[in-house]
Assembly symmetry: C2
Homo-oligomer: 455 residues x 2
């Protein structure tokens, strides 16, 4: 494999197969105008970036002599983008019996305390990133722990894999055990140093990450806002209005604010490049404010069901009157799967319980281009536009015996057939449905009997 | 492998490992008194049945010389019991976008029409039963299609695998396309002939199976009741109060009845050995009536979420005042997985959304002994009591890389550790977590890279 400094040799190569990506938002445009589908396409790669994409028959003359990797019967998509996940919680996934606030006290804080040890943090970061690749997730917005060491470990592991990753140190100065608390001042200083060290280093980006309003004093939130002033292109990543008890507590803690979102807003944290996980309990006025601010909600269905938080109002977020940017998050470890397919599966179920329909194309949009837009990365990834990074995945619609029985071996020939195939992938697929994951045009993961990683 | 007539040679053999089964209902008894756990146990098998079970250290002297298969680090449970599943819908799992009534019209009826062709039906029955075994389900209550041929095909396939299976011909004489309708009289005659042919033939049992009150005339329901009078030990299997629109329609169709359940009750269909799938919309009076009648509700969470039917009130069903027998069903093809582990995963989420807790032991009880009790089979299977059928499964708590990271390799040494291990299996497990499935003491399925079947 190549070294971190030169992830991809400059010569041309190509991938042939069925390509599916999005060129518009299917929540607001007809699906036929939003989906781009090439049943037999060729994608030409140059030094890790997309040089050309078109029907094989049209590009064959010019590029037919290149080395071509062919994936017949598979579906090639842009890599999935997970916009809310906690890497220190990898090993505490599936912790029993509590809703949000008790779950944090009982399981999360003791687990995250271990991440002061950088060597341990690196070990978990490696497992975590391999699991993302195994599930076809190529970019994620990630919470580390409160310790700067945990951020260093994560970014080093991400850099080694040439991944476009956004992460930040959790800021938390109250209502948590002392062992996982910082102070308003130390959080500011530590975050600033981490931004200077990691933000825009290669494909890495930094997110200022107050855990949530309950565990940050107003002073800490204000200093988070000051960081956003000093570094306008860093992200803001936090939790918002997940659980009824949480919302009630925030109201007590911030009596001068009009509500949960306003606690962040008064600190200057609500703007574009701000990603708020959950939003299950948002009011109409809060949806409207998020729309105006161009902020993003990361919808985390497996987590919302696992913690019993409730049913996110996706239809309201994606309204025409006050459209809010929405993306999908697994929220591992409260989420129950690293798979964005399984996450879309449960997103569908949440919408069904609310008597809405989430089409497979809408779900896959949220998991790809929608995620890129949420993270203001659509200029460099999220679909197969020329010049974008060649972070893509190969999905196998016949990955299990049942899927092979359900799905034909031939490529879908119409949008309706493609919708059925992708819906089956969402409902039945998991990490096994990811046959390969490419990062900057290089094979980073290939499914085998045991699953193997190359780096 | 042995022939169908002699599924197991009479000599003794033994299985060593960690055994988990239930000896009481943990909804009504303390969990410590309901769960039986042997961290290092030995189960002695004779001609397909359990001859002895105890700590290896105690049984070693007497049985140590037998051929012993050892499963260190795994968990051995009674086979799962799926109390509601449609075998003709195997290939239409994950059909997009509709709630119950539209989903039936658009997808189900056209699919089931193909099952008049017995050869086709047999092909699907084989895939279906292999999928059950791959997922560790050893007994199921199964709907065939309206055609007697579909029942014959199913029972022949089940008999070949020596499985304890209950199934029946769907009765349906209105509100469905003619191609999948019978008449009241033909349904009665065909069902009667099938009962005489298959009921109590070896391990097979018959269930009188009116699809639901909407697609059966009152006359057909009355004739179903007559069959139960003529054959008191056959089962009754149907759907009940799944969806709001369905309940409203039933009220229109049966104006003389007090509600949905009463439409069945007036035909004599509500008694022990009656299994009603769903019950999401049941009234208090209906829960009370089901309790009095000792009838069973099959709770099908993945289906209830997939079709947006609603959240089953498990706490009300398992109340102390009016306890109702409850078991779990996948309800494939509206259910989204054959895995009873995944089904328990979503059962947990349904209870969390209702601010209840479904402990892993309660969930596994529902999937094993609870299912056996629901089907009045607890005398012959459902746990590891001496004399019961040796239908059991070997679960691998480290089946995937993430599960291996989450779970220790050693056997749990306390009930608390066991609860954590089993909860992780429920939340993270699927067919990959089933390392082996035994039927009457013989290995019927063993997980390999591809999955192989012996018969």
């Amino acid at each position: 494999m190549s070294s971190p400094e030169s992830p991809s040799p400059p010569q041309l190569k190509a991938i042939r197969g069925s390509f599916l990506d999005f060129i518009a938002d299917p929540f607001y445009q007809p699906e036929a105008d939003s989906v781009r589908y090439l049943p037999d396409g060729l994608m030409v790669l140059e030094a890790g970036y997309i040089k050309a994409l078109g029907p094989f028959s049209e590009l064959q003359a010019e590029y037919g002599a290149l080395p071509i990797t062919h994936y017949p019967g598979q579906l090639i998509l842009p890599g999935f983008i997970d916009t809310h996940i906690h890497y220190p919680q990898t090993g505490m996934i599936a912790a029993y019996g509590e809703q949000l606030l008790e779950w944090l006290d009982q399981y999360t804080f003791p687990t995250e305390a271990k991440f002061k040890d950088k060597a341990y943090a690196r070990q978990v970061a490696d497992v975590f990133l391999d699991e993302l690749l195994r599930n076809g997730t190529t970019t994620a917005l990630v919470l580390a722990a409160v310790f700067p060491e945990s951020v260093d470990a994560f970014f080093e592991a991400a850099e080694q894999r040439h991944l476009c990753m956004i992460a930040g140190k959790v800021m938390m100065d109250r209502h948590a055990p002392e062992m996982v608390c910082d102070t308003a001042a130390s959080a500011y200083e530590d975050s600033k140093a981490l931004i200077q060290k990691w933000h825009n280093k290669g494909r890495l980006r930094y997110a200022v990450t107050p855990r949530f309003a309950i565990t940050s004093t107003d002073e800490q939130l204000q200093l988070a806002g000051q960081l956003l002033q000093e570094f306008p292109d860093v992200y803001l990543h936090t939790h918002l209005s997940e659980n009824v008890d949480e919302v009630a507590w925030v109201k007590q803690l911030f009596p001068h604010c009009q509500g949960y979102l306003d606690a962040y807003d008064q600190a200057g944290l609500v703007r574009e490049r701000s990603v708020f996980a959950h939003g299950v309990q948002l009011t109409d006025a809060e949806f409207q404010r998020l729309s105006e601010a161009k902020a993003t909600i990361s919808f985390c269905p497996t987590s919302n069901l696992f913690l019993g938080s409730g049913l996110f109002k996706l239809d309201q977020a994606k309204s025409t009157e006050y459209p809010v940017k929405v993306s999908l998050g697994t929220d591992v470890g409260a989420g129950t799967s690293f798979s964005m397919l399984q996450t879309a599966n449960e997103a569908y179920k949440v919408t069904q319980l609310r008597h809405q329909k989430l089409s497979p194309f809408k779900a896959l949009f949220l998991a790809t281009l929608g995620g890129a837009r949420a993270l203001c990365l659509e200029e460099i990834l999220g679909n197969f536009e020329t010049g974008k990074a060649a972070d893509f995945i190969v999905l196998d619609p016949r990955a299990t015996p049942l899927m092979a029985f359900r799905n034909e071996a031939t490529a879908p020939s119409s949008l309706a057939e493609l919708a059925d195939r992708t819906f089956a992938l969402i409902m039945m697929g998991d990490d096994r449905a990811v046959a390969a994951t490419y990062i900057l045009g290089e094979l980073a993961y290939e499914r085998t009997a045991a699953g193997t990683f190359s780096r």
